[in-house]
Protein backbone atom coordinates (compact mmCIF):
# COMPACT_ATOMS: atom_id res chain seq x y z
CA UNK A 1 0.00 0.00 0.00
CA UNK A 2 1.33 3.42 -0.91
CA UNK A 3 1.38 5.65 2.14
CA UNK A 4 2.92 9.06 2.57
CA UNK A 5 2.50 10.26 6.12
CA UNK A 6 2.43 14.05 6.14
CA UNK A 7 2.05 14.62 9.88
CA UNK A 8 0.44 13.29 13.03
CA UNK A 9 -1.17 15.28 15.78
CA UNK A 10 -3.09 14.89 19.00
CA UNK A 11 -6.28 16.92 19.20
CA UNK A 12 -7.81 16.26 22.59
CA UNK A 13 -8.50 12.55 22.64
CA UNK A 14 -8.17 12.23 18.85
CA UNK A 15 -4.86 10.94 17.52
CA UNK A 16 -4.90 12.02 13.88
CA UNK A 17 -2.61 10.74 11.12
CA UNK A 18 -2.60 12.79 7.91
CA UNK A 19 -1.50 11.08 4.69
CA UNK A 20 -0.98 12.53 1.25
CA UNK A 21 -2.30 9.47 -0.58
CA UNK A 22 -3.66 6.07 0.44
CA UNK A 23 -5.46 3.31 -1.38
CA UNK A 24 -8.16 3.74 1.27
CA UNK A 25 -8.20 5.23 4.75
CA UNK A 26 -10.19 2.15 5.84
CA UNK A 27 -7.34 -0.20 5.01
CA UNK A 28 -4.79 1.98 6.79
CA UNK A 29 -7.04 2.26 9.87
CA UNK A 30 -7.48 -1.53 9.91
CA UNK A 31 -3.72 -1.91 9.66
CA UNK A 32 -3.36 0.43 12.65
CA UNK A 33 -6.01 -1.60 14.50
CA UNK A 34 -4.11 -4.82 13.93
CA UNK A 35 -0.97 -3.14 15.26
CA UNK A 36 -2.80 -2.30 18.49
CA UNK A 37 -3.47 1.41 18.04
CA UNK A 38 -5.91 2.87 20.52
CA UNK A 39 -9.54 3.89 20.04
CA UNK A 40 -10.07 7.26 18.35
CA UNK A 41 -7.05 6.88 16.12
CA UNK A 42 -8.00 8.79 12.98
CA UNK A 43 -6.62 8.29 9.47
CA UNK A 44 -7.04 11.17 7.02
CA UNK A 45 -5.86 11.14 3.43
CA UNK A 46 -5.75 14.00 0.93
CA UNK A 47 -6.66 11.51 -1.82
CA UNK A 48 -7.62 7.84 -2.07
CA UNK A 49 -6.68 5.75 -5.07
CA UNK A 50 -9.26 3.02 -4.36
CA UNK A 51 -11.95 4.76 -2.29
CA UNK A 52 -15.08 2.73 -1.84
CA UNK A 53 -18.45 2.58 -0.20
CA UNK A 54 -20.24 -0.36 1.31
CA UNK A 55 -19.13 -3.91 0.58
CA UNK A 56 -16.11 -3.09 -1.54
CA UNK A 57 -18.25 -3.02 -4.66
CA UNK A 58 -19.10 0.66 -4.70
CA UNK A 59 -16.29 2.94 -5.70
CA UNK A 60 -15.97 6.33 -4.12
CA UNK A 61 -14.37 9.08 -6.20
CA UNK A 62 -11.80 10.62 -3.82
CA UNK A 63 -9.81 13.49 -5.35
CA UNK A 64 -7.80 16.21 -3.65
CA UNK A 65 -10.10 18.70 -1.91
CA UNK A 66 -12.39 16.12 -0.31
CA UNK A 67 -12.45 15.02 3.30
CA UNK A 68 -11.62 11.30 3.42
CA UNK A 69 -11.07 9.72 6.81
CA UNK A 70 -11.52 6.66 8.98
CA UNK A 71 -11.98 6.33 12.73
CA UNK A 72 -10.79 3.36 14.75
CA UNK A 73 -13.09 2.29 17.57
CA UNK A 74 -12.90 -0.57 20.04
CA UNK A 75 -16.39 -0.94 21.54
CA UNK A 76 -16.25 -2.41 25.02
CA UNK A 77 -19.75 -3.83 25.03
CA UNK A 78 -21.05 -6.79 23.04
CA UNK A 79 -21.59 -6.04 19.37
CA UNK A 80 -25.32 -6.83 19.42
CA UNK A 81 -25.73 -4.29 22.24
CA UNK A 82 -24.40 -1.44 20.09
CA UNK A 83 -27.85 -0.10 19.28
CA UNK A 84 -27.76 2.82 16.88
CA UNK A 85 -24.16 2.06 15.88
CA UNK A 86 -24.95 1.85 12.16
CA UNK A 87 -26.66 5.26 12.31
CA UNK A 88 -24.23 7.46 14.20
CA UNK A 89 -21.65 8.18 11.43
CA UNK A 90 -24.21 9.56 8.98
CA UNK A 91 -25.88 11.62 11.73
CA UNK A 92 -22.49 13.09 12.66
CA UNK A 93 -21.64 13.96 9.05
CA UNK A 94 -25.02 15.46 8.12
CA UNK A 95 -25.29 17.43 11.39
CA UNK A 96 -21.77 18.86 10.99
CA UNK A 97 -22.29 19.84 7.35
CA UNK A 98 -25.48 21.65 8.36
CA UNK A 99 -23.74 23.44 11.24
CA UNK A 100 -20.67 24.49 9.25
CA UNK A 101 -22.20 25.38 5.89
CA UNK A 102 -25.89 25.99 6.51
CA UNK A 103 -26.73 23.50 3.76
CA UNK A 104 -29.76 21.29 4.29
CA UNK A 105 -27.76 18.05 4.38
CA UNK A 106 -30.05 15.09 5.08
CA UNK A 107 -29.65 11.33 5.30
CA UNK A 108 -31.06 9.04 2.65
CA UNK A 109 -31.44 5.61 4.24
CA UNK A 110 -29.29 3.84 5.04
CA UNK A 111 -26.19 6.02 5.02
CA UNK A 112 -26.04 8.47 2.12
CA UNK A 113 -25.82 12.16 2.94
CA UNK A 114 -27.55 14.23 0.30
CA UNK A 115 -28.19 17.87 -0.51
CA UNK A 116 -31.19 18.26 -2.76
CA UNK A 117 -31.22 15.08 -4.77
CA UNK A 118 -27.48 14.65 -5.00
CA UNK A 119 -25.08 12.73 -2.81
CA UNK A 120 -22.52 14.83 -0.97
CA UNK A 121 -21.12 12.35 1.56
CA UNK A 122 -21.18 8.69 2.48
CA UNK A 123 -20.25 6.44 5.38
CA UNK A 124 -19.17 2.85 5.85
CA UNK A 125 -18.51 0.67 8.91
CA UNK A 126 -16.35 -2.43 8.91
CA UNK A 127 -15.78 -4.55 12.00
CA UNK A 128 -13.78 -7.58 12.98
CA UNK A 129 -15.69 -9.66 15.49
CA UNK A 130 -14.64 -12.54 17.72
CA UNK A 131 -17.66 -14.31 19.20
CA UNK A 132 -19.69 -11.43 20.66
CA UNK A 133 -17.19 -8.59 20.77
CA UNK A 134 -15.63 -6.41 18.14
CA UNK A 135 -11.85 -6.59 18.09
CA UNK A 136 -12.23 -3.29 16.30
CA UNK A 137 -14.67 -1.27 14.22
CA UNK A 138 -13.52 1.19 11.58
CA UNK A 139 -15.90 3.96 10.58
CA UNK A 140 -15.17 5.57 7.21
CA UNK A 141 -16.58 8.92 6.11
CA UNK A 142 -16.10 10.61 2.76
CA UNK A 143 -17.26 14.15 2.01
CA UNK A 144 -17.18 15.88 -1.35
CA UNK A 145 -15.89 19.22 -0.15
CA UNK A 146 -13.59 21.61 -2.01
CA UNK A 147 -14.01 20.58 -5.63
CA UNK A 148 -16.70 21.26 -8.20
CA UNK A 149 -19.17 18.91 -9.86
CA UNK A 150 -17.24 19.18 -13.11
CA UNK A 151 -14.46 17.17 -11.45
CA UNK A 152 -16.69 14.08 -11.10
CA UNK A 153 -16.42 11.27 -13.65
CA UNK A 154 -19.27 11.15 -16.16
CA UNK A 155 -21.20 8.33 -14.49
CA UNK A 156 -21.68 10.54 -11.43
CA UNK A 157 -23.17 13.41 -13.42
CA UNK A 158 -26.46 14.45 -11.80
CA UNK A 159 -25.87 12.05 -8.91
CA UNK A 160 -23.17 13.74 -6.83
CA UNK A 161 -22.44 17.25 -5.67
CA UNK A 162 -19.99 19.00 -3.37
CA UNK A 163 -19.93 21.58 -0.61
CA UNK A 164 -18.05 24.01 -2.87
CA UNK A 165 -20.63 23.55 -5.63
CA UNK A 166 -23.50 24.23 -3.25
CA UNK A 167 -22.02 27.07 -1.20
CA UNK A 168 -19.56 28.70 -3.60
CA UNK A 169 -16.99 28.73 -0.80
CA UNK A 170 -14.11 26.51 0.17
CA UNK A 171 -14.33 25.19 3.72
CA UNK A 172 -11.57 24.38 6.17
CA UNK A 173 -11.34 20.59 6.08
CA UNK A 174 -9.72 20.35 9.52
CA UNK A 175 -12.58 22.35 11.03
CA UNK A 176 -15.16 20.02 9.48
CA UNK A 177 -13.16 16.97 10.54
CA UNK A 178 -12.98 17.99 14.20
CA UNK A 179 -16.65 18.95 14.25
CA UNK A 180 -17.62 15.51 12.93
CA UNK A 181 -15.28 13.73 15.36
CA UNK A 182 -16.69 15.62 18.33
CA UNK A 183 -20.24 14.79 17.27
CA UNK A 184 -19.26 11.15 16.75
CA UNK A 185 -17.78 10.97 20.22
CA UNK A 186 -20.94 12.41 21.78
CA UNK A 187 -23.19 9.96 19.93
CA UNK A 188 -20.85 7.03 20.55
CA UNK A 189 -21.05 7.76 24.27
CA UNK A 190 -24.85 7.53 24.05
CA UNK A 191 -24.55 4.17 22.27
CA UNK A 192 -22.19 2.78 24.89
CA UNK A 193 -24.53 4.01 27.66
CA UNK A 194 -27.47 2.28 25.97
CA UNK A 195 -29.27 5.52 25.02
CA UNK A 196 -30.12 4.44 21.49
CA UNK A 197 -33.46 6.27 21.60
CA UNK A 198 -31.50 9.55 21.46
CA UNK A 199 -29.60 8.35 18.38
CA UNK A 200 -32.83 7.38 16.64
CA UNK A 201 -34.39 10.71 17.54
CA UNK A 202 -31.45 12.56 15.95
CA UNK A 203 -31.53 10.28 12.90
CA UNK A 204 -35.23 10.97 12.34
CA UNK A 205 -34.63 14.74 12.52
CA UNK A 206 -32.01 14.47 9.77
CA UNK A 207 -33.74 11.84 7.64
CA UNK A 208 -34.74 12.59 4.08
CA UNK A 209 -36.41 9.19 3.77
CA UNK A 210 -38.87 8.99 6.66
CA UNK A 211 -42.38 9.87 5.52
CA UNK A 212 -41.65 9.17 1.86
CA UNK A 213 -42.99 6.43 -0.39
CA UNK A 214 -40.03 4.29 -1.34
CA UNK A 215 -39.15 1.27 -3.42
CA UNK A 216 -36.57 -1.14 -2.08
CA UNK A 217 -34.68 -3.03 -4.76
CA UNK A 218 -32.86 -6.19 -3.74
CA UNK A 219 -31.81 -9.43 -5.40
CA UNK A 220 -34.75 -11.26 -3.87
CA UNK A 221 -37.62 -8.85 -4.45
CA UNK A 222 -38.81 -5.30 -4.88
CA UNK A 223 -40.92 -3.82 -2.11
CA UNK A 224 -42.86 -0.57 -2.14
CA UNK A 225 -44.12 1.14 0.98
CA UNK A 226 -44.08 4.24 3.12
CA UNK A 227 -40.98 4.76 5.25
CA UNK A 228 -42.24 5.12 8.82
CA UNK A 229 -39.11 5.08 10.99
CA UNK A 230 -35.80 3.35 11.62
CA UNK A 231 -35.34 0.73 14.29
CA UNK A 232 -32.51 0.70 16.81
CA UNK A 233 -30.45 -1.65 14.66
CA UNK A 234 -30.77 0.71 11.69
CA UNK A 235 -33.52 -1.24 9.91
CA UNK A 236 -36.04 0.78 7.90
CA UNK A 237 -39.63 0.15 8.95
CA UNK A 238 -42.02 0.30 5.99
CA UNK A 239 -45.80 0.42 5.98
CA UNK A 240 -47.06 -1.54 2.98
CA UNK A 241 -50.21 -0.74 1.00
CA UNK A 242 -52.20 -3.45 2.84
CA UNK A 243 -51.34 -1.79 6.16
CA UNK A 244 -48.84 -4.42 7.20
CA UNK A 245 -45.38 -3.49 8.43
CA UNK A 246 -42.14 -4.71 6.89
CA UNK A 247 -38.67 -4.36 8.38
CA UNK A 248 -35.94 -3.77 5.77
CA UNK A 249 -32.47 -4.69 6.95
CA UNK A 250 -30.60 -5.02 3.68
CA UNK A 251 -31.12 -3.60 0.24
CA UNK A 252 -29.24 -2.93 -2.95
CA UNK A 253 -30.95 0.34 -3.77
CA UNK A 254 -33.64 2.55 -2.35
CA UNK A 255 -35.51 4.86 -4.69
CA UNK A 256 -38.17 7.44 -3.97
CA UNK A 257 -41.42 6.89 -5.87
Amino acid sequence: MKSNLLREEQRGSFHIFYFNELSTTQEKAKEFATKGREEWTIVVSATQTAGRGRFHTRNWFSPMGGLWFSVLLRPEINFDELKGFSLFPSISAAWSIQKLTGLNALIKWPNDIIVGKKKIAGTVIESKINMRKAIYSVVGIGINANFLEEAFPKHLNNKATSLLQKTGKEIRLDELLVMILQKMRTLYGMIIRGESFRIIEEYHKLSDTIGRKVKILSEESNITGKAKRVGENGALILELSDGSVKKIETCEYLIYT
Binding site: F55, D80, V124, I125, E126, K128, I129, I135, G234, E249
Partner: protein, 80 residues
Protein backbone atom coordinates in the same frame (compact mmCIF):
# COMPACT_ATOMS: atom_id res chain seq x y z
CA UNK B 1 -12.51 -12.65 28.31
CA UNK B 2 -13.83 -14.25 25.15
CA UNK B 3 -16.44 -16.96 25.44
CA UNK B 4 -15.53 -20.34 24.02
CA UNK B 5 -18.08 -23.13 24.21
CA UNK B 6 -16.36 -26.48 24.33
CA UNK B 7 -18.11 -29.82 24.05
CA UNK B 8 -16.94 -33.28 25.04
CA UNK B 9 -15.68 -33.87 21.51
CA UNK B 10 -13.41 -30.84 21.80
CA UNK B 11 -15.27 -28.81 19.23
CA UNK B 12 -15.92 -25.08 19.22
CA UNK B 13 -18.81 -23.43 17.41
CA UNK B 14 -18.46 -20.14 15.56
CA UNK B 15 -21.63 -18.25 16.26
CA UNK B 16 -23.21 -15.25 14.59
CA UNK B 17 -22.85 -12.28 16.95
CA UNK B 18 -25.69 -10.46 15.23
CA UNK B 19 -28.58 -11.11 12.86
CA UNK B 20 -27.54 -10.60 9.26
CA UNK B 21 -26.84 -11.88 5.79
CA UNK B 22 -23.96 -14.25 5.03
CA UNK B 23 -22.04 -12.40 2.33
CA UNK B 24 -19.04 -14.68 2.08
CA UNK B 25 -17.71 -17.96 3.47
CA UNK B 26 -13.94 -18.01 3.35
CA UNK B 27 -13.33 -21.62 4.40
CA UNK B 28 -14.25 -25.17 3.41
CA UNK B 29 -14.78 -28.27 5.52
CA UNK B 30 -11.37 -29.73 6.33
CA UNK B 31 -9.53 -26.40 6.19
CA UNK B 32 -7.03 -25.66 8.93
CA UNK B 33 -7.71 -22.29 10.56
CA UNK B 34 -5.82 -20.13 13.01
CA UNK B 35 -7.26 -18.06 15.84
CA UNK B 36 -8.50 -14.63 14.65
CA UNK B 37 -8.61 -15.75 11.01
CA UNK B 38 -11.61 -14.31 9.12
CA UNK B 39 -13.96 -17.16 8.21
CA UNK B 40 -17.29 -15.45 7.46
CA UNK B 41 -18.39 -12.00 6.31
CA UNK B 42 -21.81 -10.98 7.49
CA UNK B 43 -23.74 -7.91 6.46
CA UNK B 44 -25.71 -6.72 9.42
CA UNK B 45 -27.17 -3.42 10.52
CA UNK B 46 -25.90 -1.95 7.23
CA UNK B 47 -22.34 -2.82 8.16
CA UNK B 48 -19.74 -5.27 6.95
CA UNK B 49 -18.55 -7.63 9.66
CA UNK B 50 -15.61 -10.00 9.49
CA UNK B 51 -16.26 -12.94 11.77
CA UNK B 52 -13.09 -14.60 13.02
CA UNK B 53 -12.46 -18.03 14.49
CA UNK B 54 -11.92 -17.93 18.26
CA UNK B 55 -9.52 -20.90 18.25
CA UNK B 56 -7.03 -22.79 16.10
CA UNK B 57 -8.41 -25.96 14.53
CA UNK B 58 -9.93 -27.67 11.55
CA UNK B 59 -13.31 -26.78 10.10
CA UNK B 60 -15.43 -29.83 10.88
CA UNK B 61 -18.77 -28.53 9.66
CA UNK B 62 -20.22 -25.45 7.94
CA UNK B 63 -23.87 -24.97 8.79
CA UNK B 64 -24.81 -21.99 6.57
CA UNK B 65 -24.54 -20.97 2.93
CA UNK B 66 -23.71 -17.63 1.31
CA UNK B 67 -26.84 -15.55 0.82
CA UNK B 68 -28.54 -17.02 3.88
CA UNK B 69 -30.02 -14.79 6.56
CA UNK B 70 -29.04 -15.78 10.08
CA UNK B 71 -30.25 -14.85 13.54
CA UNK B 72 -28.07 -13.97 16.48
CA UNK B 73 -26.41 -17.05 18.04
CA UNK B 74 -26.81 -19.14 14.89
CA UNK B 75 -24.00 -21.69 14.71
CA UNK B 76 -22.17 -20.87 11.49
CA UNK B 77 -19.52 -23.57 11.65
CA UNK B 78 -17.92 -26.03 14.00
CA UNK B 79 -14.18 -26.22 14.58
CA UNK B 80 -12.41 -29.29 15.88
Amino acid sequence: METTISHHTNTTPIISPIPGLILEIRVNVGDKVSQDEVVFIIEAMKMENDIVTPVDGIIKEIKVVAGQTVEIDTILAVIE
